[in-house]
Symmetry: C2
DNA sequence: TTGAAAGCGCTAACAA
DNA sequence: TTGTTAGCGCTTTCAA
């Protein structure tokens, strides 16, 4: 079984390899007749262009990288990255490019992997998930002139391409929801303030509160995304007698609900809970969690599409795509306004 | 900024491009002196070989594929694939190869994606997760003579390379554990019988029971991996008054525990629960779930290593690697034997 | 609209 | 131990 090549297809179709190449690449300057003959031979033989040869000649690999930094071990405990990968893969498939995954496990990996990514010409561009503020990867990429798109909010949204969920407005919605239901003593379990998502969710929530004429007082604590931290935070909040709480992530909300239960209080009666993410299956909590759902897969999809655009047109002006979250109203906030 | 190539490095080091190539590829027939000079230039310039050119000349891409079939949307709700990807990526990084991800979302994708994978010469080999019995992907791969390793138990373990957790012995351990704790009326929530993992876990459990002189009676039901199915199964089991249950997956166990709780029974007092997977965080259930943990990341790692071996030595004899699970004893079975 | 020909950066067989 | 040379399969001018 030997590999078919352009020359061979050309021979079978009675044209030169150049013409076959033109047909394969959908160029227009080919006669209908030639095109038809060539296509027939291709279909018949199942010919597929050789990726490496193509890359070498065209300087395009048809591969994009998805870079996920930081200790990934914990990352997969929540469905976020799975969803992101899913969306990105789906979009990649739809545009005939393949997705390569790069996980940084340790700090040490970062430099060597980055060098490998930019140096080998293996990818046409990369998508970088900006987990924490102050990444150096993007610097490397910029220096190497390798097209890249950031998922999240980059430090310099002026010069970078990025796709993000609208954390700010999502958190704002959560505040409005609590207010609508008549809650007057909201608390906040904020996500880490060393992440842009954390910063945006916190400020969006406070903004929403202010708009509703509500005050957070000292009913605020910070968690680190985990369930345990949500529980601890809620425990520290209980003495301040909140009647509702916004947890900056589903997992922290789960912890918070446990704290509420263990304190002998009821959710939503005593304390309404709303969270951010919308990633955990509805029936995994009781009562089912009301949450601001961010469109994670769609973020992945759009990131791929944006990256493709940048690759195809390197002169493109920086662009930031912000995708709206949706409020999933379930039972953890109740559905009727509490009487004041 | 123009790309450095072998010729250029050779010029700077005063040798031919062949010698540089030899140094880069760690061949031994190079004089110490030449090697040193070349290496110095490489370090200085940050030269990296061009992946595509290398592939074209050597017929090796340095890329392996990880193929995850079936509707992936639901797959990421449990941490299994995340862990697998993690292990595979980590191993790939350690052997200087990169991992490309191929997800089949729909049946339709399967053929076109498979054709793309085998036809384009994009990968040196692939790892296939065999979710369900009767895959046709492996047939394609075999026909194309593309090296592949199956994660799970392939239909024909005689002729294929595979890596798997020892589902059978793991389930066996679960049975022994229940017996040791003095439980005499065990029930089984079996995983789907159209998966090899499901078959193995069921038979391993029954075998363990038999060995302990216990009988399952009609205390058996089948789930479909989901929490909801575990709950339904447990509900159907309750009338048969089991004093313990083995759930074939963590998620089904969570559902089962909910059914137990909602029936007004206590776990572990009335019914001990042991599950398989060990994937969900311990404190996510109450009581914390006793589970047979399968080494998922390690399976991914070993699959990569085995694939590399096959790629490097195509004549290798088929090999199956089975990794032992470990019993995570927590509280859902109690820790002391119940009095008979 | 077509074909001829050069060359992408590398490996590997061969010769020296 | 080293260098020379011939491709790998494709894209892409350029000329016809």
């Amino acid at each position: 079984m030997q590999r078919l090549n352009l020359e061979e297809i050309g021979r079978l179709a009675g044209v030169s390899r150049s013409t076959v190449s033109r047909v394969v690449n959908g160029e227009t300057n080919v006669s209908e007749d030639a095109k038809k003959r060539v296509q027939a031979v291709i279909d018949e033989t199942g010919y597929r262009p050789h990726a490496a040869a193509r890359s070498l000649a065209s300087n395009r690999t048809g591969v994009i990288g998805l870079v996920i930094p930081s200790a990934a071990a914990t990352l997969f405990d929540d469905p976020y990255f799975g969803r992101l990968i899913l969306g990105a893969t789906s979009a990649s498939n739809s545009i005939e490019t393949t997705l390569a995954l790069f996980l940084f496990e340790e700090e040490a990996d970062q430099d060597s992997l980055t060098a490998k990514i930019v140096g080998s010409g293996l990818v046409d561009g990369v998508i970088v998930t900006a987990a924490e503020i102050g990444e150096s990867i993007t610097d490397h990429l910029r220096r190497a002139r390798l097209p890249f798109v950031v998922v999240g909010r980059p430090d310099d949204s002026q010069t970078a391409f990025s796709v993000d969920a609208d954390n700010r407005s999502g958190a704002h919605m959560a505040a409005a929801h609590l207010h609508q239901l008549g809650r007057t003593r909201p608390a906040l379990i904020a996500p880490p303030s060393n992440t842009t998502a954390g910063i945006d969710r916190r400020s969006g929530f406070l903004e929403g509160l202010a708009e509703a004429g509500l005050d957070i007082g000292d009913r605020t604590a910070e968690g680190n995304w985990t369930e345990a931290s949500g529980q601890t935070a809620m425990e520290s909040l209980l003495p301040h007698q909140p009647d509702s709480v916004f947890a900056g992530s589903d997992r922290m909300a789960v912890g918070a609900m446990r704290a509420i239960r263990e304190a002998g209080l009821a959710c939503p009666r005593d304390i309404a809970v709303v969270s951010f993410d919308g990633l955990i299956p509805a029936d995994q909590t009781s009562p089912r969690l009301t949450s601001v759902a961010q469109p994670v897969a769609e973020v992945g999809r759009q990131a791929v599409m944006l990256l493709k655009a940048v690759i195809d047109n390197p002169a493109m002006a920086p662009q930031r795509i912000v995708l709206p979250p949706t409020l999933l109203v379930r039972e953890s906030c109740g559905t009727e306004a509490t009487s004041p």
